[in-house]
């Protein structure tokens, strides 16, 4: 395992701190909305550029690290920007810019109350996500993981209606108990091995533990991160959390919160247990079964959902398990496929959520059955929706195909060819629950649509941009940030030991 | 216990006995530092003498012996004497309650300084206990018709 050259620099800390810095500014300028939105956008762009400065180092495999003070005897608050962390931070901060623009339109369009609290909590969420991305050890990961839970709660219950409160309560119960399981797992590992620092290839492999302790430990870890990764038995908070305003479900429930769950799964599989240990004790079969069940079931349930956002929520659960499946297959190609899918799925799913939001604000319609005929009056929105659904189904020009292709290769490489069947079948199911919407929007006559036009440019612009990105990444995946190369490097780094 | 006790024998005897109780109490206090006795016992006896006069001859008359609010104040002063000696010893260089250092300001040897130190403490404690006992009696009786 090549010794990565570690440089210490303040950038990871700055990345986490920049949106925290914006929070007081946002709170202070609650009287002047324009100034407040300006602070959010400034923080988003600043964060994105900071992450960009870290990108070349990550592509060259370097790690920039900073450890602040002691969080726990023997473990300190260490922010390590390794390639995988930078990759995830890049996606989250990039999409935050687009979501801020989008939420300006959404919040103003829907005349939502309490916008200051909304933007402040959003900023805190993002800094927590950055913290999760750059966490150098399990305790720091846990710290930001729980801060993310607290910061997301006010956003889930933003509308303050009865349904929002019950959604918030359910969200809390799931995520808090997930946090507790993770605490137990982290402390047990600390007891067994004495260290909690993430290490590519897993630091548990050297500890020579037998299956009797490793299997329960692995289940604890999966229970901890699985809730946020939406693995089947633990997923039901996600559809109910759709009571939140759409930009929240767009960024958080498509990019930040759930992706940090999946990011956690990959960290646990790649950096705590490591492929050799997983294969040796058959831990990967547990994960493969869970992921496969989730993919199929989620897609099936999605077909029955009439509410557009709930349907997209179940589709997110399905696609998250693509990534979990990629992690479970343990081959380098499968890892890079999973890492790629984090990015590409984010772009596609955020497009769909943006369209759902635009439709809601423009036409106050939420259910799929009411969407007939809106394609003619909202061409751009529904065009982007079509592109997104194509990608999700895995059809070539859009980037969904690329990551699904790499995942397929990984399945073959890791000796589980039957997983290909799962991917193909779920691709069909995706088509089954997304294409009818496109068909209904463009080819069915709509009623009560007179005088309605396209949604406000504030909303449509980010919508179209993300759709375009999905298309461009589909055609030339290594555009701008050479994501595929980075994903391959990460996959190699984790799975390198196996081949 | 109504007003002036209508029983002359009681008030007569109580007026005769209480001085002797007080003298004996003073004896007990002042011999407390090297023989049985001391602040607590002497103070209780002084308190008992005052309460005897309050019981026998009613509170108004016995007000002359010890005023109404004086009890708490007496208690505070008693504790101050006790605390003061200890603190003085500390100020003079020793530890808290190290009377040996009182010899620096008293024309006596170290041993005698300890003697006088404990003596002041006994007097302080005696005063405090008496003050508090009487104050307790007065507080409990506030609002009663006879008080």
């Amino acid at each position: 395992m090549p010794i990565q050259e570690i440089t210490t620099s303040l950038t990871p800390l700055l990345v986490v701190a920049v949106s925290l810095g914006a929070v007081p500014l946002i709170l202070l300028s609650s009287r002047r909305p324009n100034l407040r939105e300006f602070w959010t956008l400034l923080a988003a762009i600043a964060k994105f550029t900071l992450v960009l400065t870290l990108l070349p180092g990550a592509q060259a495999g370097k790690i920039t690290q900073i450890s602040l003070f002691r969080l726990f005897p023997g473990v300190d608050l260490c922010l390590k920007a390794d390639p995988f962390g930078v990759y995830f931070a890049l996606i989250a901060s990039g999409l935050w810019i687009l979501t801020s623009v989008y939420s300006i339109g959404y919040m103003r369009g829907g005349h939502e109350h309490k916008q200051t609290r909304y933007y402040a909590c959003f900023a805190v969420c993002l800094s927590a996500t950055m913290g999760i991305a750059f966490a150098g050890n399990l305790i720091t990961f846990l710290l930001f993981y729980e801060i993310l839970t607290i910061a997301t709660y006010p956003l889930v219950i933003h509308k303050e209606t009865k349904t929002a409160i019950t959604a918030g309560r359910k969200y809390l119960v799931y995520t808090l108990s997930a946090g507790l399981l993770l605490i137990a797992a982290a402390l047990w590992t600390f007891q067994l091995t004495g260290t909690l620092d993430f290490q590519a290839g897993g630091f548990l492999s050297a500890s020579g533990l037998d299956g009797k302790t490793l299997v329960p430990l692995f289940l604890l870890f999966i229970g901890g991160v699985g809730v946020k990764a939406g693995i089947m038995p633990l997923h039901s908070w996600l559809p109910t959390a759709m009571a939140a305003p759409t930009p929240v479900s767009a960024l958080l429930h498509a990019v930040a919160v759930v992706k940090s769950g999946v990011f956690g799964v990959l960290r646990v599989v790649g950096f705590v247990f490591g492929p050799t240990l997983m294969k040796q004790f058959g831990l990967d079969t547990i994960l493969i079964v869970l992921a496969a069940v989730t993919i199929i079931l989620a897609s099936l349930i999605a077909m029955r959902q009439d509410n557009l956002k709930r349907r997209l929520a179940y589709s997110t659960i399905g696609h998250l398990s693509y990534i979990v499946m990629g992690a479970a297959l343990l081959s380098p190609m499968a890892f890079s496929g999973a890492v790629l899918h984090i990015a590409f799925h984010a772009f596609m799913k955020i497009t769909l959520f943006f369209t759902a939001g635009a439709i809601y604000i423009n036409l106050h319609r939420e259910n799929v059955s009411e969407l007939s005929g809106i394609g003619r009056i909202m061409p751009w929105t529904m065009g982007a929706f079509a592109l997104g659904s194509l990608g999700l189904a895995g059809i070539p020009p859009v980037n969904g195909f690329v990551s699904k292709w790499v995942l397929g290769l990984g399945a073959v490489q890791s000796g589980h060819p039957y997983i290909l069947a799962v991917f193909v079948f779920s691709g069909l199911l995706n088509a089954a629950y997304l294409f009818p919407i496109v068909h209904r929007a463009f080819f069915k006559p709509g009623e009560g649509l007179e005088g309605k036009t396209e949604a406000s440019p504030w909303m449509v612009a980010p919508l179209v941009v993300t759709a375009l990105f999905s298309l461009l990444f589909g055609i030339y995946p290594d555009l701008f940030f050479r994501l595929v190369q980075l994903a391959a490097a990460i996959g190699g780094q984790i799975g390198g030991l196996l081949t | 216990m109504t007003g002036k006790s209508d029983n002359p024998i009681l008030s007569m005897i109580s007026r005769m006995i209480s001085p002797f109780i007080m003298i004996y109490a003073l004896y007990v206090i002042f011999h407390g530092h090297y023989s049985p006795g001391g602040g607590f016992q002497g103070g209780t006896m002084l308190g008992a003498a005052v309460i005897l006069s309050r019981l026998a001859s009613g509170s108004e008359l016995s007000r002359l012996l010890l005023g109404k609010g004086i009890g708490t104040l007496m208690g505070a002063i008693g504790v101050f004497i006790y605390f003061g000696t200890g603190f003085l010893a500390m100020l003079l260089g020793g530890r808290f309650l190290e009377y040996k250092y009182l010899a620096r300001i008293m024309p006596v040897s170290d041993a005698m300084a300890r003697n006088w130190g404990i003596q002041f403490v006994e007097v302080g404690v005696g005063l405090a206990v008496m003050g508090i006992m009487v104050a307790l009696y007065d507080d409990i009786l506030t609002g009663e018709p006879d008080a």
């Binding site: - | 023989s35 508090i132 307790l136």
Partner: protein, 132 residues
């Protein structure tokens, strides 16, 4: 067995006083009787210390011949330390009883009863009325 009984009569009395005190505190309904029980409990512990301090053939711990500390035969005198400790315990007992009586008087002034059951009813009745 008899020797055990007669030899430790002091401790048996402490035990009996303890139980009486506890009984008074727990089962008596009148508040003042509870206080009496509490005082009995305190007194029994003081008695326990004093019985422990006793020695067969030991006399009151006052130095008879003052021929210097070396000549003192400790067996001749009973242990003095528990007695001094119990001085403080007695004073603490007085203070506790003082505070307790002050509280009982305020309770009586507010609820006009010293019986615990009646008191609880009046408290419950209070509960519904807004707490003033």
């Amino acid at each position: 067995m008899l020797r055990f009984l007669t030899g430790h009569y002091g401790y048996w009395f402490t035990l009996i006083l303890l139980t009486i005190g506890l009984y008074g505190m727990i089962f008596k309904r009148n508040l003042v009787k509870k206080l009496i029980g509490m005082t009995i409990f305190q007194v029994s512990i003081i008695m326990f210390y004093l019985t422990c301090a006793a020695k067969f053939g030991g006399t009151v711990p006052v130095l008879i011949d003052d021929s210097g500390p070396a000549a003192v035969n400790p067996a001749a005198y009973i242990n003095a330390l528990p007695h001094t400790l119990m001085l403080t315990a007695i004073v603490v007992g007085v203070a506790t009883t003082g505070v307790a009586f002050a509280i009982v008087i305020t309770i009586y002034k507010r609820y006009k009863t010293l019986d615990e059951d009646v008191l609880l009813e009046r408290m419950k009745k209070d509960h519904d009325a807004p707490a003033d």
